[in-house]
């Protein structure tokens, strides 16, 4: 458990355990072991995390603020986080928590608004928008499981460890989530065709 100083009671998002094992397949699963530079870690993980958080929020600004906020919270703990096997998992957990709470979202938006750069990217493509919107129709647990499995590329075992539930529960969430997602995507296609 990461411990803060000062206010003794400050509650903290439970980070993934430092010793969690995983078979990395690129992505944010992370620059494993001790990562020397916060800057390099940021450079390597920002975009993958953005993809995950955009899929989670269906809102580019919310996703960006949540990810940036999570990095802000990571930095004072960096000496510790850098020793985690998967520090990006901690960032993702915090970012999702930020995105899920209206108050945290607003606070993050206020804090990070002035640092937003003029976006030189083209914004999400229509396919990405469609997927994010379809995901937004799913119950949160199913959406989270799908994002962790399909976008963060975690295994079912890893997701179960991070979420603190049995692997069977994750399989169930994934199964139902995929079915609901397929329906939502089909509906979107139908609407577009009809339009």
């Amino acid at each position: 458990m990461v411990r803060t100083h000062g206010p003794e009671d400050i509650r903290e998002e439970p980070p993934p355990t430092p010793t969690a094992t995983a078979t990395a397949t690129g992505d944010t699963k992370d620059v494993a072991g001790v990562v020397d530079s916060f800057e390099e870690f940021y450079a390597a993980t920002f975009q993958p995390l953005m993809l995950q958080l955009y899929a989670y929020t269906a809102d580019i600004d919310q996703a960006r603020d949540a990810v940036q906020e999570a990095f802000s919270r990571a930095w004072p703990r960096w000496n510790n986080l850098a020793h985690y096997d998967h520090p990006a998992a901690w960032i993702r957990t915090v970012a999702m928590n930020v995105a899920r709470s209206r108050w945290r979202r607003l606070r993050a938006a206020r804090a990070h608004a002035r640092f937003r750069r003029d976006d030189t990217t083209d914004g999400p493509t229509p396919d990405r928008v469609a997927l994010a919107r379809a995901l937004a129709t799913l119950p949160e647990k199913q959406r989270r499981a799908i994002i962790l499995f399909h976008i963060a590329d975690l295994s079912i075992t890893e997701i179960a460890e991070q979420q603190g539930v049995a692997p069977g529960t994750i399989k169930s969430w994934l199964h139902r989530g995929r079915a609901a997602l397929a329906t939502a995507l089909s509906d979107t296609e139908t609407e577009e065709t009809n339009a």
Binding site: V2, R3, T4, H5, G6, P7, E8, D9, I10, R11, V31, D36, S37, F38, E39, E40, Y42, A43, F46, Q47, M50, L51, A55, I60, A63, R64, Q68, E69, F71, S72, R73, A74, W75, P76, R77, N79, H83, S101, W103, R104, H112, F115, R116, R117, T121, D122, G123, P124, T125, D127, R128, L131, H150, I151, L174, R178, L181, A182, L185, S186
Partner: protein
């Protein structure tokens, strides 16, 4: 997870989703660090500024105090002649009828469990917490209370002590309470008593985070007063051992609680000083058939007000550029894009400068058609390098707004 023929191919959709270009331009790690630093230092420096205001106001406070005849302090205040009523965990027992014409004072000694499950009248929280922390009549349960079950912040009752603050012959209760959540929170000490009907009533606020108090760490009873252990810095990222702490004494004046003992302000924190670093572009001159060399000259300064005992310099160099001769106490490590050098420099007095010359060497091929390399350097102090626990090993914060000059960068160029 079989899918029928009408189902969109989710695997392809996700592959397409993850294989496209970037979604948004990152604000950058420096922006994230800036926010973290700002959060870390705001409390410290705000407290410092307020301390000056408090100092200016101290004579007025003192004169007010002397007019009010402070309660006798501290320790050996005679115990009340009336025996203290025995403690009963349940307030339902009716007060013992008195044979004397005057009613005995209510027993305001309330245990932590009872207080933590009572409805208490709480004064308003500071403006920035008002929408997150309940005030007025607040129902506590198991020592906590919050506006809604999913509120970000919650109130917690952490300590309870008892003393006869109003010297009526019966003890009252002082409680340390905080309302906090991630990265923000406020602690305060409140005093409670019982009325004649045995209801818990709020005597008043003993102290909150006013002036230079950034957090209240603990309380204890002393005579007819309550003492609070206050610190001058708190919050996420404050390095262990950074905060100064003091015990300050508060007594009941008849109308409210006022400080009656202990220091009224913190001295300047001896761990805050303003360091800076600067340096220019480096030109590498061919010094052989394959290599080029030059010198990165960094100037580290201490603008005060404290002597920096252990300045800690970090230099990042790209690719194959290396430092050929390091200061005495340095560590070298590889990064994804080059090499990081971390060096402890000799102590730096207030207003002193220290020039660090770092001889660089690189293969000439480094410059073949490539962008010029960039060096980056940072200076902090208080870094112990132990890194084993949170806060341990983290550098001390800079004065507010003074952190921008703690890093510098420049180009490493081939000589024209």
């Amino acid at each position: 997870m079989p899918e029928n023929d009408n189902t969109p191919n989710l695997d392809h959709i996700f592959t397409a989703y993850t294989s496209g270009g970037p979604l948004a331009a990152p604000a950058g790690p420096a922006a994230a660090q800036h926010i973290a630093r700002r959060r870390r230092t705001t409390r410290i420096i705000t407290a410092g500024v307020l301390a000056v205001a408090l100092l200016a106001a101290t004579p007025a406070v003192a004169s007010t105090w002397t007019n009010q005849e402070p309660p006798a302090l501290p320790a050996d205040t005679p115990t009340p002649t009336t025996p203290a009523p025995s403690l009963s965990p349940t307030p339902s027992a009716s007060p013992t009828p008195s044979t004397t014409p005057s009613t005995p004072p209510p027993n305001g000694q309330i245990g932590k469990t009872e207080l933590g499950n009572a409805t208490l009248e709480l004064p308003a929280w500071p403006e920035y917490l008002k929408e997150h922390c309940p005030a007025g009549r607040v129902k506590f349960s198991d020592g906590t209370a919050q506006l809604a079950p999913n509120s970000e912040l919650r109130i917690k009752l952490t300590e309870v002590v008892h003393a006869d603050f109003d010297q009526d012959g019966a003890k009252e209760t002082a409680a340390l309470i905080n309302c906090s959540g991630i990265e923000m929170g406020e602690a305060r000490v409140l005093a409670f008593d019982r009325d004649a009907s045995d209801n818990i009533v709020t005597m008043g606020l003993v102290t909150g985070q006013t002036g230079d108090i950034a957090w209240i760490r603990g309380i204890r009873a002393k005579g007819t007063a309550v003492e609070a252990e206050v610190v001058d810095a708190a919050g996420e990222g404050v390095v262990e051992g950074f905060a100064q702490s003091q015990w300050r004494t508060y007594s009941w004046s008849g109308k409210g609680f006022v400080q009656s003992g202990g220091p009224s302000m913190f001295p300047p924190n001896p761990r805050v000083t303003d360091l800076s670093i600067s340096g220019d572009d480096v030109q590498l001159v061919p010094d052989g058939t394959d290599t080029a060399s030059g010198t990165l000259r960094l100037t580290v300064s201490n603008q005060g007000p404290q002597r920096a005992t252990d300045p800690y310099l970090t230099v990042d160099l790209p690719g194959e550029i290396t430092i050929t001769s390091l200061p005495a106490k340095c560590e070298t490590s590889k990064t994804l894009s080059g090499t990081r050098y971390r060096c402890w420099l000799p102590a730096l007095a207030v207003n002193a400068d220290s020039v660090v010359d770092l001889p660089l060497s690189a293969p000439k091929s480094v410059f073949d058609g490539a962008q010029p390399g960039r060096w980056e350097a940072k200076i902090v102090w208080g870094y112990t390098g132990t890194d084993t626990g949170d806060g341990k090993g983290w550098p001390y914060p800079e004065p507010d707004g003074a952190e921008d000059d703690n890093s510098a960068n420049g180009n490493v160029l081939p000589a024209p």
